[in-house]
Symmetry: C2
Subunit: 705 residues, 2 copies
């Protein structure tokens, strides 16, 4: 049997899981009329936003697909389209489930915490399985077609370019979706909080606040659709670049073995989809905490995946201890690959995933020193809350970096750059489960909003709040995990870049040594990208939130009945305003990582020649990860910690709700919002897209050569 | 005449300027008894702190000097001692002048703005000239002794090691002084603000606040003594490494020409001391603004320096167009050096200095968009103030990076790594003037405090406030300038590292290519350093400020007469508390950049062999600048912008003092405090010390080899 069929079957299983679970979710009761009303307002808003976002992206997409077609031919153009469309589908379906699960979660939480947890987690799991399943199907079906049907060799340039183009399609959509969704959700959230909680003195999600529906829409289009597009992209890029780097670097072994090696990442992806499906059924409260219940699912999938990776690898490669291929190492050394070595690298990837989850929980969970230190600092005011939050956000980068460095060294010692690639692949293989944990968050957040707006019993809100606090941590976990895998993938992408360079331009002697000043220039310009990008994101949220504040103030002024509770505010107007602002603000920063590599290459080539241009471009790819890793981790962990410090105080510590400490903690939470949900997470697709554009630029230059 | 004598004479001129101007300052009237009382409390506190700080550093210093003696011999040990002692002297004398000029500035401001400006600027100029003068004397006398008296060749290993050890001495003191002083000043400032302005509702510098004296002490030990030690270090390291890199890389030309080339940076330093002295006499108000008056001094020195650099270079090298030496370029290329090329590189350095000054003013001045946007965002609350401030801090890294990149490319194209070194040298040649602009700030800040506490007329405070607002910008300017020059110096230091490596370990093939995973590991670990270091700094300030708050609360509680104004608070107790806290908190983070390079080298060598260890260590040196540049600029510019956004509101915009916007702006200012005065500026000495430790490690390993 063609090995790829196994991967395709696993992908289909994931999609089937999604269909079946969606039916289960939709069958559940959707609450009373008031709840359904609110939910349908959220649905409408979310659909309207997503439709508009996709229309805008489509314009950019059409231009890009024409360029890809012109420079790289029809197969690559098709690859680009598949990546782009499926990325869109993942976000679209995930969001549509999420906006239906929210009200059902609120309804289920009326009965029990377990009921709410099950409903929210199922909804998350649908998105998770779609991300992994559609990602796996996209690559394996396309690769199957190219090799088994169209008859290309697996390392044929057509196949390599097509895989890169597929990744590009996914990346391009995801940067827009992450950023647009991120701006939407935080502009609405910050705006609603400022004008509601701070100015008007009404609680969060109070139905009198015209921005509440926009806030709830934001959870779905940002934390659900945007996140799903991001992780879909990470999945496709990581698996794709692993295959590409095998195709480009493996020298020993025959064509059949090459095909097996290239299929292995896909089959490992398929295996972990199956273990993730099993894991989803282990999410039960029992006697432990909510986080403990979610962990049961995660660890089941991870441990099962680790154990089964051994027989699966043996099945694919035949013999775990035989040398299956060789690849170049540092200098003139050759590294011999065996199944056993690759298996160890996969264990390293899974171990790193576990470590990153644990570290993120430490930095963002309410049970540990970091969050509690922020809460404590809130007692002395807004300023000390923010200072301590920034201190924690800076500090939170240390352990992940050390963990990543150790993983890179270990994987590289075992199997060179292919080892690092397999580490990244096994990390991403867990994407189904990790996304499930994350996508559960916005559903509970929405459920709480609906409970509040529909005036449900107090204890429903208490239950959804408990679920939501854990959501803050799981959201931070996904981001740390995505950016951690990006650090590994960046090494592999850089390897692909240098290999391509040697193949396309054998007569240009490019010096990647740190002694070359153009390498330093590239590193500095690359390092600048996450900073500029972050500045755009933060400014956009600030500006859009400002217009929300003005709109709400005007509604209150024009219509005093709103505050009295006699007139319904014009929710749609606020949603529409945020929609337009988010779309407008996402375009320029999204183009930054697409255009910068091209500009740097041409400018440096003009000044100092092509070899310097290639050196600067290559260094830029590493500069962006060297700085982006820290910017992203500090923002996402810091933001999560701020949010939970507020929750920790709301749980009755340091004076509880309404105290001065609480007010300071609300400020910290507001600051953390665009940090953790707009600027921080968008760094991951930004890094990927910079790298992929560089690879495509090389291919295009070679074609024009 | 020996060329070095010219440099020595210029150094003596700077010191004489310091002596004469100090006498002028001390002759001025020191105000009424109340003012003198307050000033003497500040003096005592500052001296007590500095004495304690130096005692603590001395313990570390004795251990280090023993290690230097053991590994590198007596000459290097003497070099280390000279660097360390003179760095201490610079800070000590500068601070002693500053604590006497503050009260005289307040007294002078009673008569006119020009009077206050002159007194404060003269005090700053004394510190500035001491930094440049003692720095120049340290290197040139030591170099003169080694070459002309002891008879070593200028590129003898003894000379090179001794120069590096001299730089190490200066760096080690400066990291402690910058960090200890930074923690002291901001702990006192933040603590005083929180408990005074926010809790007790009394104005800044109110004599009833027990923390006010500590706050004023902090300005002197942090912004004056700490800053002076930092810039002294930057001066010595930059000029020293330029000479070292000439000694190590120049291959063509004879010994006499080598001596001339190595003397050139010192003579340019001497030239700019003379033009800076002239510049100080141009600081007059006339019809323009305060900033304009300061700029007159700056531009006079810079333009005169640029014009005179041509004849000076010609005098030293004989013929501007003759090839005086050759050095290796990228690959096998050789770069021919001429006087003309070096002159152009100096112009590039001076131009970059001007650009960085201009960019920093744009980002931190009250007249431009960035500061005004933060003030505007304050209207919607604490959260949006902080969000916009963070956005500006991220954004502010872009233009400096681009300017630095262009300068590096241009200087490198002209004269390779030596060109970059001369660019950095000409930047630092302006140190006398730049430090003068900076050190003027704390004097005006103190003068304002004294005016407030002594109950002087309202318009005195208005004048000192106007002077102080400009001080925020000039303080940010120095930091941007120091870190910008660090980026250039880092390239030169890395060049020295690779050259040393080839010389000491010719049989170890070190691969600095970005394809080597140990290079990536080094880059990531280097990039981590400024983050961890920043986390330490921010946490230290938060913690120490917290204890200030508690101490002041207790004083208020135990002694109600304090708030009634009938009993004098125990200022000394608070000063003592902050002193102990600052000393305690500075030790661990200061050792981080000393120990990390050593740990990384040995750990990686253990795991992957010596070549990988050297590669990771080299990459670490660049990782720390690639990330440190952004961390430092974003923190110092962002902090300055926050501070001036508050001042902009206090000038009557967006509701003025006491409005909600003002409260939000105070929060932003508090957050910006440790950003701009503790964590951010300490990154510069941290980068240097990491690099120098690596160079010394190589020399020590070679000796043990």
């Amino acid at each position: 049997m063609n090995l790829l069929l196994i991967a395709i079957i696993c992908g289909v299983i994931a999609v089937l899981y999604g269909v079946v679970t969606t039916m289960q979710v939709l069958k559940a009761p959707a609450g009373n009329e008031r709840m359904r009303d609110i939910a349908s307002a959220v649905q409408e808003g979310a659909q309207a936003y997503l439709a508009r976002q996709y229309r805008t992206i489509a314009i950019v997409g059409v231009v890009v697909v024409a360029l890809v077609y012109y420079f790289l031919g029809p197969v690559s153009a098709i690859g680009f389209l598949i990546g782009a469309l499926l990325s869109g589908v993942t976000g679209f379906v995930g969001m549509n489930v999420s906006v239906r699960a929210n009200v059902r979660t609120a309804e289920a939480a009326r009965t029990s915490l377990q009921g709410g947890l099950t409903m929210a987690f199922r909804s998350g799991a649908i998105t998770g399985m779609l991300v992994a399943g559609l990602g796996l199907l996209a690559i394996s079906v396309f690769f199957y077609y190219l090799t088994a049907v169209a008859g290309h060799a697996p390392n044929d340039r057509v196949v390599v370019d097509a895989l890169v183009a597929l990744a590009f399609g996914a990346s391009l959509i995801s940067i827009f979706a992450r950023l647009g969704g991120g701006i939407f959700t935080k502009a609405a959230d910050v705006g609603a909080d400022l004008v509601g909680k701070v100015e008007a003195g009404i609680p969060e999600d109070d139905p009198r606040n015209p921005a509440t529906i926009a806030d709830n829409v934001g959870d779905n289009v940002g934390d659900c659709a945007g996140m799903a597009a991001d992780l879909f992209e990470t999945y496709v890029v990581t698996l794709g670049v692993t295959m590409v780097s095998i195709a480009l670097t493996v020298t020993g072994g025959d064509g059949e073995m090459l095909m097996k090696l290239m299929s292995l990442p896909l089959i490992i992806g398929g295996l972990c989809i199956v273990t993730s499906v099993i894991g989803t059924y282990m999410v039960r409260l029992g006697k432990g905490s909510i986080m403990g219940a979610l962990y049961k699912g995660f660890w089941t999938s991870a441990v099962l995946g680790a154990v089964l990776a051994y027989p699966v690898t043996q099945y694919v490669l035949g013999d775990m201890n035989a040398v299956v291929a060789s690849i170049p190492g540092v200098g003139d050394a050759e590294i011999q690959l065996t199944g056993m070595k690759l298996f160890y690298c996969m264990l390293i990837g899974l171990g790193l995933t576990g470590l990153l989850v644990w570290i993120t929980e430490y930095y963002t969970g309410t049970n540990y020193r970091p969050v509690q230190s922020i809460a404590k600092a809130s007692q002395t005011g807004h300023g000390t809350n923010v200072i301590q939050g920034l201190a924690i956000s800076l500090e939170s980068t240390a352990l992940p970096t050390v963990a990543i460095v150790i993983a890179v060294i270990a994987a590289y010692q075992l199997a060179g750059v292919i080892g690092v690639a397999f580490g990244a692949t096994s990390m991403l293989a867990m994407a189904g489960m990790v996304v499930a944990l994350d996508a559960y968050g916005p559903v509970t957040d929405n459920a709480g909003g609906i409970a509040e707006m529909a005036g449900l019993e107090e204890d429903v809100r208490t239950r959804t709040d408990a679920l939501d606090a854990v959501g803050n941590t799981t959201k931070a976990v996904t981001k740390g995990y995505a950016i951690g895998s990006a650090a590994l993938a960046a090494l592999v992408l850089f390897g692909a870049y240098t290999t391509d360079l040697r193949e396309f331009f054998p007569d240009v002697a490019v010096d990647f040594s740190l002694s070359n000043p153009y390498v330093i220039v590239g590193l500095l310009l690359g390092a600048l990208l996450p900073y500029s990008f972050g500045a755009f994101g933060m400014t956009a949220v600030g500006r859009a939130a400002g217009s929300v504040v003005e709109d709400v103030r005007q509604q209150f002024r024009d219509n005093p009945g709103i505050m009295e509770g006699t007139v319904r505010p014009n929710y749609g107007r606020t949603v529409d305003l945020v929609t337009k602002a988010a779309i407008r603000e996402m375009i320029l920063p999204s183009l930054l990582p697409v255009l910068t590599p091209i500009a740097v290459y041409f400018l440096i080539t003009l000044v100092a020649g092509q070899a310097s241009g290639f050196a600067a471009l290559g260094a830029l790819l590493l500069g962006v990860i060297v700085s982006g890793l820290f910017v992203a981790i500090s923002m996402t962990s810091g933001g999560g910690a701020w949010d939970n410090a507020k929750k920790y105080i709301e749980d009755g510590n340091y004076g509880g709700k309404g105290s001065e400490a609480h007010k300071a903690a609300v400020t910290g939470d507001t600051v953390g919002d665009p940090y953790k949900d707009t600027a921080g997470p968008a760094v991951n697709p930004m890094i990927k897209i910079t790298n992929i554009v560089a690879l495509l630029l090389l291919a295009a230059l070679a074609a024009a050569h």
